[in-house]
Amino acid sequence: MRKGFLRRFMHHVPALVSVIVLLLMVLALFLLPVILHLDPYTTDMLAMNKSPRPGHILGTDATGRNILARLCEGGKISLYIGVGSALISMLIGIPLGLIAGGTKGFWSSLIMRISDMFLSFPAMILVLVSVAMFGSSVSGIMLILGILGWPAPARLLSANVMSEREKSYVMSAKLLGRSNTYILFHCILPNAISPLWTSLAFRISQSMILESGLSFLGAGVQPPLASWGNMMQSATSLVVLTTRPWQWLPAGLCLIVSVICINFVGEGIRDALDPRLKLN
């Protein structure tokens, strides 16, 4: 199965390209500052708002900090928040989804109604309020985004569990005297969980976008810490937007590229995990 999974994944060209791009990007985020001796917090008083030049390959920002250094630092933080919060969402969503899908009655409907409540709020407003209440440290933002993201995986899993448990092979396992717990974890869960890997990838990219939006609005990652979102904040000024594209364009491009790549990877995983999809 594992071997088959890799082989199938390799056949998905956009996903394969995306994995390579993402790997190169992560490698760059961690290695470039070391190789080029870049520090995201050092200000160069003699080079404020300077366009790209030797020594400052991507130019400097308003306080003379190296944009490339901040791009790497911000990427690390953005990725950290994206991956971390998606994992937190899964950690909450998977058990709740299993309970909601595997049982009938009170607990199932309680979980579904609570998830309705979560989904009926506009995410951005909810995050803004939560950040205002609980502070905007990096782990705080990660936790808030993670907690707010649980309904999507939970609903997906519970819907899948519900449809799987009506299938004949579940009845067949029952006829072999298997217990309900055994059936839930050994028969239903493996068949119901594969769309969740895709959902995990989409959660990561979504959290990264939310984080950037939040930082762009000034409520997310606080300077002097860098994030792709708060680097783009400089574009709120018309002068920067029109005359200094090096200050906001790289962060925006990085965000777009990484989000698209993560989504492609999610799609590739989904196609590779489904044994019913045929390779051509």
């Binding site: 004949s168 092979y169 009845m171 298997r178 028969c187 044994p275 019913r276």
Partner: protein, 320 residues
Amino acid sequence: MSELLRATHVVKTYTVKPGITGKGGGTLHAVDDVSFSVRKSESVGLVGESGCGKSTLGRCLLRLENLDRGSIALEGQEIQDISGKDLLPVRKRMQLIFQDPYSALNPRDTILKSVAEPLQAFGIKDRRESLEEARSFLSYVGLGKSEWSKYPHELSGGQRQRVVIARAMISSPAFVVCDEPVSALDASIRAQVLNLMKRLQQDTGVSYLFISHDLSVVRFLCTRILVMYLGEIIEETSREELYSHPMHPYTKALLSSIPIPDVTHDRKRILLPGELPDPMHPPEGCRFAPRCPYATDLCRKEKPASRDIGDGHTVCCHHI
């Protein structure tokens, strides 16, 4: 031949919750006071139209549903109240062959694993031995070495149904319910699968309860036939008797629906008006009366009792 399974006055009802307006609630009688028995190495057919309760009866016999009333005895032991761990020895003796061979197999298991699983689950053999046995059993049902490591979706419908049959039969059960096992297959494959089932019966001495709405299929495999209508068994007799002298008007109508491959044959089809009545509100008196061409006032008022008219032929009708 000795008796293997006996169902006595089996009743299965479902409670339907009323809708938001308070209407539509009530009790649905899926199986209503059904009694019959199956002997060792016998094939009993259970026929009736969709929704008459034949699948529910099958599931009740296999203890997938709890009975409301009545009892089921397997090899002399009453099994309707057994639960939990004690049910395992009973499960070992009974199996089910599913209608839809696609969903009956776990899509993530290779067919070899699916077929070996019953032996491990029942603790009959350890892992290595059960895989060994599964290999030889798969060969027996006509699936060669090249197919063993395939997944269900890689097989054709007929092959899948062979796997389902192998999975049901490998633990050598005494009683197997076949819930429309060939109705999802096309005609050429149907014959192969039916022949396989017949061969398995000759080799292992298993008893079949063959649920179907297709009388020609039942005729091929079963020696005794039960006709079910709206949760009740209305006629029970041997195959020869049923096809030559059907007594109940409903059975006559069913038999007249079998196509005869002869263009010059001038047959009289008995067309029944209407549909199966709502099982939530079954008609008073004889349940077939609203659709019966011979119904009289007696039929509409009083429920006919089941009567033996000789040679184990029982009919449930006022006019016999």
